[in-house]
Symmetry: C2
Subunit: 187 residues, 2 copies
């Protein structure tokens, strides 16, 4: 891919992120993104042939921006990430909607999410090990707790997106961290 | 609605559940369901005007079948429910895909899921209170732990659907129950 082409793709992904933030998942049509970046829809299709392909590129780009070097990650940074996510419902909605679709047969986002979880679970296990060593207070290993940590983050996003007044996502995630901490964290 | 019409709707929902179990979310087209129940697609549309409307009816019917009287619910029954779900990927996939879509603007399943969570969270809080009283070993209240319990069940379903070999959903949920139990459950 030429440098020019790479730049154009980066422009498109940035424009898509803006449109998602403003109009949400459904409003982020290829037409709206093309207009934002000054391309015809046909021109946009040259770079991203489907809406799914574009949204996967947006999520992968977010993963890059959110990435923290492994040695720096700490559990309390995860809480900050959840608080930050609560301020950007558009991208969280895009992630959650695409994750939902990805579990259906032959969906183009399936590989992205499968690989993402295959890499996120060990990353989270490493964070938990740095915090607790080989056993959490509950007796679980970091490898046992990691899928639960990821599941709670994803699951809370759905409850929060559906009913933001009923679910305080950051507070709920903080409660999960207390659960990991165990009784010693009381008082 | 006439009795005849109600029976026909029940037949359609049952047929849809069968088609989902055999062919998954994408394979469960209105045409396939109509054929199974011996209706034209036009005839089916009279009862369920969209695929989403039919799938919501299927999920609501599952809620009825899965319902356990409040006084009978126990945490270990939840583990059995997760084990049971691991044997019916079609309906779990349908739930997860539709939950994903429901967070997008104006989706027809949004009200179903919002109301479902508004009722499931207090139900789960009641189960936790029956088990632990007003405080869990971690110090959380049942009302604080309930959204986490629901989030873990939903979130694990995505990880499991994407990669069933990597994630043992029932074992992972069992680990979450150990987490609720706290250190006293060790050994």
């Amino acid at each position: 891919m030429s440098l020019r082409s790479e730049e154009r793709r980066a422009d498109i992904v940035r424009a898509a992120l803006e449109v998602i933030a403003e109009r949400g998942y459904r409003g982020a049509t290829l037409g709206a993104v093309a207009q934002r970046v000054g391309l015809t829809q046909q021109g946009l299709l040259h770079y991203y042939p489907t809406k799914e392909a574009l949204l996967i590129a947006v999520l992968a780009e977010r993963d890059q921006w959110d990435a923290v070097p492994a040695r720096v990650w700490r559990l309390d940074l995860l809480r900050s990430l959840v608080e930050y996510n609560a301020m950007r419902p558009g991208i969280v909605q895009t992630f959650s909607a695409l994750l939902g679709e990805s579990v259906t047969e032959g969906h183009p986002a399936r590989a992205y999410f499968t690989e993402r979880y295959a890499s996120v679970r060990p990353s989270m296990a490493a964070v938990l090990r740095a915090e607790y060593g080989d056993r959490l207070p509950s007796g679980l290993t970091p490898e046992q707790a990691a899928p639960l940590l990821v599941a709670v983050m994803d699951g809370l996003q759905y409850q929060w997106l559906l009913d933001p007044d009923a679910v305080d996502m950051a507070a709920a995630f903080g409660n999960f961290l207390r659960l990991l901490e165990g009784p010693s964290a009381q008082g």
